[in-house]
Amino acid sequence: MRQLWETPGGVHPPENKVQSLKLGIGHLAIPEKLILPLIQHIGDAAKPCVAIGDVVLKGQKIASASGDLSAPVHAPTSGVISAIEDRPVAHPSGMSALCIEIISDSEERWIDLYGHTDYKQLSPQEVSHLIADAGVTGLGGAGFPSAAKLDNGRTKPVNTLIINATECEPYITADDILIRERAAEIIQGIGVISHVLDMPRRILIGIESNKPEAIDALREACKSTAIEVVVVPTKYPSGGEKQLVYILTGQEIPSGQLPSDIGMVCVNSGTAFAIKRAVIDGQPLISRIMTVTGDACGINRNYEVLIGTPVSHILEKNKFIRKNCSRLIMGGPMMGFSLSSSELPVVKTTTCILAPSHSEIPEEDPQQPCIRCGLCAEACPASLLPQQLYWYAQSEDHERLQAHNLFDCIECGACSYVCPSNIPLVQYYRSSKGNIINSRNAKISAAKARERFEFRQVRLNKAEQAREVKREARRVATEKAKTSSSSAADIINAANLRAKARQASPDQQKAKLERSLMAAKMRLDEAQERLAEANKSGSAEQQAQQHASVEGARQKVEQTKRRLEELIR
């Protein structure tokens, strides 16, 4: 038995995993429309590389990665591009982002696939490129582009590869069922990853003790390999990357750093599966295993769902009853976010659609004062002091918040879960983090503005000084001319110079007047348009008003014209 380390804190919410494990992985009919957000991962949004009306094949790239930290998007089925526009996406804000919509032709015509069963012949770079090109991102939660993660791991020596199969959130069973049914493919995927990482010294699969069947399947699949299946005690949130690393190795990822900084790479088991598909089968990431559960759904099970499928399509096929549903959650109950609408599409990071009934997850009770009971501090897996953070978040004391390591909070929700006063602690932390980042940014841009302002002052001063020098020189010259031998030639010269200087100005004046004439005319046109409109539909008062403004504009035009003529004369 491998030694395990125990993380501080943690909670044991009811697991509720049995419901969705009664049936195996199911398949859904292809929806009529698929909506593919261009940003389904951490980093920069992908750039569309198709146009409206294009016919695309299943697996065809429709948006390519832009920059290092980005991932391409592929068509999940064959069909026609019907829109490239802002649509509401699955995001806690409920806001919109650029999406590509495909109307399916339900023919499922694939592009040609090129698998690389002989990937070991390829260099790690080439394999990583294959992964990047298939649009594989972390399927567990945040959606970090996998190739970027592996590349980053390759820059430093990696001695440990950790496969995260803990799935500690209640309700979610996507990884569990995937392992049960497709363990062998996951192991193949791990092989690909370890090839990219130059064969790390040890490979550990962390899996929670509440998945006996999956554990057996993994052990069976790992028999002839060096991969070690490590069963960790069931506790939320042992599936957090930092927590799992500590449980398995006793090492902590230093604050603000990545696992690769201590020679580790942590990959989700679903991601390993997607990498296998991408490299060995040549299939881009266009579908994922996802749990559909909650009492408001008649059927609870896992599906292999095409990315971009609207949630409503999935719910319809699962005997969803709206009136029973208290809220619609994407992700698990602890860290998932509630959806404002069921029309939003499933993305690469969607692990679960949870539609709980009112009795399952009732309305929150009103918030009560914090009594500093300390339950939150006991539950915190990062050993923070949540009640102090809450206090400082309320008073917006950013310095103290940072001194209390707010940014080490992983937003797991354990503190809010145990809080007897129903304080939405996590929301306070998220909001404070946002405020701190905003004020950091504001500071940076203020510094920039100051720099520009000061530079401008210096520039203006210089110009002024130069002018002053010239003026002074002129004054000296004229005085010299006056006092000394005021010869006729000099006088004439000076007069000529002055005249020249003056002549320049009428030109400028003319230009200026011309400009204002143009502007005045433009305004007159506008005013007349408005008058016409008012005459058509407005009240008498409006008409009179518009009339007056037209009159005013006309006068201005006349006036400018007159002045221009005077000048020319």
């Binding site: 940003i39 009103p366 918030q367 306070y428 909001s431 203020a446 503005a449 100051r450 302002f453 433009m522």
Partner: protein
């Protein structure tokens, strides 16, 4: 000498007091030289806290002059773009009570950026001259445009524009800039019965 002092108490008192005075005076003078505090760069610290919009709403030509003026004892509530948070920060720095914003200098408004309606711009360069942070690009008789990232939203360019083609637009929040908001804290709401508390939740 000592005899003289012991016999003449008043003289003794005088001598000892004068002696003490000289001693402590010397000590004070020495300490004043030895532990001299370098001049406090308070102006820099104040300038750091001001929003650097350079808008002039405080009545000073730029943030730095206002910072100087605060250091000289001016009121700290004259900066509308910075708003209450800036006032609080300055008050904390100076260890004084934070007043509320002086409305004679304007109101705290949401941040905006200038936007030039480009088809109306006649290329007069007045806004370029007016911009305190050189955030407007353009040349004479050519259309101008605002570098949005550099614009501080001071609106100094709006007034000089002869054709009124500059708008101050609020910065729109997109999905990247969206932040969670602080939850409404019900127990601090002033309410008169528990039913209203429940209502505020929904």
């Amino acid at each position: 000498m000592i005899e003289l002092l012991t016999e003449n108490i008043i003289l003794a008192a005088l001598v000892s007091l004068v002696g003490l005075g000289v001693l402590f005076g010397g000590l004070l003078g020495y300490a004043a030289e030895k532990f001299k505090v370098e001049s406090d760069p308070i102006v820099e610290q104040l300038d750091e806290l001001l929003p650097q919009t350079q808008c002039g709403q405080c009545g000073f030509p730029g943030c730095k002059p206002y910072a100087q003026s605060i250091a000289d004892g001016d009121a700290i509530n004259k900066c509308p773009p910075g708003g209450q948070s800036t006032i609080n920060a300055i008050a904390k720095l100076l260890d004084v009570a934070a007043p509320s914003l002086d409305e004679e200098h304007g109101e705290e408004e949401i941040r905006t950026v200038a936007f030039i309606r480009e088809d109306e711009c006649i290329g007069c360069t007045k806004c370029i001259q007016a911009c305190p942070v050189d955030a407007i690009l353009g040349a004479a008789k050519l259309m101008h445009t605002v570098i949005t990232q550099e614009c501080t939203g001071c609106d100094l360019c709006v007034e000089p524009c002869p054709v009124d083609c500059i708008d101050m637009l609020p910065i729109e929040e997109d999905i990247d800039q969206w932040r969670w908001s602080i939850p409404k804290n019900q127990h601090q709401l002033i309410a008169t019965s528990s039913s209203t508390v429940h209502e505020t939740l929904t």
